[in-house]
Symmetry: C2
Subunit: 236 residues, 2 copies
């Protein structure tokens, strides 16, 4: 896996920015590097692209290796090409924005061979910060290589497209049976602001129910306190 990179050659890698909503907070999965460079530093999971595979395939393969069994939404985010971004040599990285419900990730993270850890993404007026599982804060700039830039780019992109695309549904535990409050939680975590429940529901239903992309399955969920929520199904 950690074979030497040849100098004077261009290498292509994919890096996965795996985002999820954990306990109501936007979070990212990071792995601690076990080899130089940046040994011991937290980084996005990455992988070299083989000569016969596309970047999309490589990203899917990466996900398979890092989180066996997880089938997540994935889209190309941006390509990072600074010549000095990797001290080993010329490595161009195509970053992928990967979205998955926390419940799916949880199972994979429990596997012994999986080394990824979940960091909360705190969003303040000065930008974003990472909160380690033990509560310790971390700056994006503390990540390996230019992964802090990738993180910021990805979060901004996600925020930018959450309300004119369908990405939010891929962060739901089950897009075939979700309540509007669950969807609202996704929006609030991504945008880092609370939304009015009534207006939110009106907006979502106007956008999706009128064209049949969302239908009420009329099954009432009976769980926590409060009135049980109606469940909906999303048509991707």
């Amino acid at each position: 896996m950690h074979r030497q990179l040849e100098p004077d050659r261009l290498h292509l890698s994919v890096d996965g920015l795996i985002l999820t909503i954990c306990e109501g907070q936007l979070s990212v999965l990071l792995s601690r590097r076990s080899h130089p460079p940046c040994e011991g530093v937290w980084a996005l999971p990455g992988r070299l692209v083989a000569l016969d595979e596309s970047a999309d395939e490589a990203a899917r393969q990466l996900l398979q290796e890092m989180l066996p069994g997880v089938n997540a939404y994935s889209e190309q985010l941006y390509t990072f090409t600074r010549a000095d971004r990797d001290p080993r040599g010329r490595v161009v990285s195509i970053a992928y924005l990967i979205l998955s419900p926390w419940e799916h990730l949880q199972d994979a993270l429990a596997l012994p061979e999986v080394t990824l850890q979940c960091f909360r993404i705190g969003q303040g007026p000065e930008g974003i910060a990472l909160i380690r599982p033990d509560g310790h804060p971390l700056s994006p700039d503390d990540l390996a290589f230019d992964h802090g830039t990738i993180l910021r780019t990805g979060v901004t992109r996600l925020q930018g497209k959450i309300d004119y695309t369908d990405v939010s549904f891929h962060l739901l535990q089950d897009m075939q049976a979700f309540s509007l409050s669950e969807l609202q939680t996704v929006f609030e975590a991504v945008l880092n602001q609370s939304l009015d429940a009534s207006n939110f529901r009106r907006g979502i239903l106007a956008k999706y129910e009128s064209i049949g992309r969302i239908v009420q399955t009329s099954i009432a969920k009976k769980q926590g306190r409060g009135r049980p929520a109606a469940l909906y199904r999303f048509d991707p």
Copy 2:
């Protein structure tokens, strides 16, 4: 320039999707390939990325080579990585969306060493088509490699961000002295629909004049027929 690509190695290139508004129509600059593969076929201008330069630098360099003296707006569009996209071998291409006022391009296109040609982009219900300078139509799929896909991706992206970013101003002849009709022409060409002049002006001024990004230079342009238009300056 057309040195052999080595097999079993990954090559990185940048392709430039140079868009402009020519005679009120969205247009793209293409070059006819003079060497195999795809000899004689129209293609986006492209260039290999050197080992010591970033893709942004390579794109700027490409522009310098193809259109000396033109200083255009440029942003990364998407990275195309299909393993079989180039018959010569493994070539990953980072596409750049490049926007320039037609008046600037015109000067460069007149130079004898410049071989680019301007194609109108016709937008119908079935997608886009290219109109050669001689009036002959051409499908995007007739372009070399996957350049048709790049073209479609770029046009869609431009349309998507024209009304929440500042890209439109980079298609104006002079963003330091333009009339609102000129800006409206840009919008109409990109979106391929006519807009109400009154509502358009209200929208633009509300978005930009209130925060000082646009200021009226109060110089009246005296040219064609009709009432002379007030000129504005855009602060980038």
